[in-house]
Symmetry: none
Subunit: 196 residues, 4 copies
């Protein structure tokens, strides 16, 4: 059910390889502890050559951020579009968000959360603007459920609680464990919405 597109822009071009390597290194060591030399070495070029592709180290972080936000927003759009049943829409959103956090965009998502403050305020604003669509899907679905009286709490608060549960999975979830991703999504769904 989950789309398996490769992340926009993280392709086989020099730029794409740089972004993939950077995302991995940022995740492993943190943005501040990853040197431009590290990134260059990971793709087999000299550190100075990086600056033909990105104006600064921060631009690399920004690019990683934007690519992953755009890519995952598109996934969210698809999840909502795939059904008309609002509860199933929520299940889809949760599944996809879990997928983004423990699956193919895992590296970038961890970076996105942890190194967010390493972006300048300007860049944070730009990223938030794109992120708005992503959150829009959540509010649309949770708002609908709240209107049906099935949430028991404000939609925004519920979004925050779900977001906490999903993002925290990066710290513990083991795909080879007993509980699989869809199972976890179901648990979270069950804790979030009352049955009709």
């Amino acid at each position: 059910m989950i789309a398996t597109l490769s992340v926009y822009g993280m392709d086989d071009t020099p730029r794409g390889k740089l972004l993939s390597a950077a995302a991995r290194l940022f995740r492993e060591q943190g943005y501040d502890r990853t040197t431009v030399r590290d990134i260059a070495a990971a793709v087999g070029i000299q550190s100075g050559s990086i600056f033909h592709h990105f104006a600064s180290k921060e631009e690399i972080l920004f690019a990683v951020t934007m690519e992953v936000i755009r890519f995952n927003t598109e996934r969210m759009r698809q999840a909502v579009a795939s059904t008309d049943d609002i509860q199933e829409q929520l299940r889809g959103l949760i599944r996809v968000e879990l997928q983004t956090i423990v699956g193919d965009t895992r590296e970038a998502m961890i970076v996105l959360v942890r190194d967010w403050r390493c972006l300048s305020e300007e860049k944070q604003k730009a990223a938030l603007a794109v992120r708005a669509e992503y959150e829009g899907y959540w509010m649309q679905v949770l708002g609908g459920l709240q209107a049906q009286g099935r949430l028991g709490v404000d939609a925004m608060v519920m979004r925050r609680l779900i977001n906490g549960m999903t993002s925290w999975t990066s710290n513990w979830f083991d795909e080879s464990g007993q509980l699989d991703l869809d199972g976890l999504a179901d648990v979270i769904l069950q804790r979030s919405v009352d049955p009709l």
Copy 2:
């Protein structure tokens, strides 16, 4: 109901003032971006003088980490000891954990989560060892509820979900908003455990 001890070690001594200042700066700027000079300036001494109190910058982070873990573990112990009703014990744990994250130890808790990886593996292990008691209280209570069939999911998984919800509050919770801390604790409790 929440204990209002001051955090152990973050007292009026030079060392304590250093720790408070460091926790705040680490939270604001991140560990890597906070310089020893920043910390020294915040308490009005020279950067070289810091090394009479701590052997290295990392020792400061470690000390902040350990102080807050010990302090909050003691709070957890009290929360469990304050009642025999297992559901009330869980409510207490949730309340206290929220309190640690948005209340008096907020600075240090954010640092604890975000800058965890800046500690050497050795120090991480040492901190985890102390943290074990903290998590022990949770497993005792959640394990009890699971034994009563009131959890609907593995106790460990539930702990992770709750931990996600509580820790994420640092990103959004506003004490001056409509929902207060106890109200939020109740919402989380309700989502976690089935009534008898």
Copy 3:
């Protein structure tokens, strides 16, 4: 009265456009602060393409230097040739030198003085050799006046004083001000030579 030839070599060819752009940029930013990219961008090509026209960045500076020396030397020759009256010859030299410094070769002349030391010693020597003819005209005329006892000071010293006055005009002279170029030339002449 002043020749209005365009500077040799600074024509409409790619090489000529490069030289003009370089002279302007060197004047504005200094040789060291002007990048090969700046120059390339100013004429709408890529930086790598510059090296089809010049072997190195320094060769560009050298070419600017040589073009302007040759061009202005020719002007000097004409100024001396245009009259037999020795005082009028000096007036012509002063006028032309002022013209080179505040007029059409202004950019290059400022560069010539200020960024002289950016040329290798070898190139400095080569440029000085060509410059010798230029200074020759001055010495011929001032030497003649000194022989007539109308200088009151050694011809070489007088040449240095005049050169100081003329070259310094790049720092202050405003063509739209009250004093025009010929007027200034007359003032300098008057301060240099005693009447018969």
Copy 4:
């Protein structure tokens, strides 16, 4: 007659030695071509240590600039104060300016002129503000002579011409030559002012 104070701030302190070395290197190689390592090596410290004394390389240039302006302004003040005869005052100004350019502050004066544009606009403004007093002495004296009808040209223009003659001496004057500094000053004076 010429004061032989050592330049303010260019004393035996680390900072003073740094300034002297920097002035010499800037003069020899130009500001842009002088590296922080060069300066550090010249006084026998590591390059990083420079930044305990100056916040940036540009601050060193600025300090050199300001010290020499202040020092020479004080000399000018003394030159004017030393006599009431206006023509002798002018002789003093010329002598002192020549002294600043070929004598003890030679290094810094050449730098001041040639690398002026390497200062940020902000710093240029700050330096000009201090320089105003220096130029004030010239305008006071030349204005006085103009009022007596002994200048034959606007005082401001005359100041520019003299400034050209004096500053250019850095390119040619040889103290061991036939003409000494006072002799040169007399020549310039003679060319500038008509006798009563």
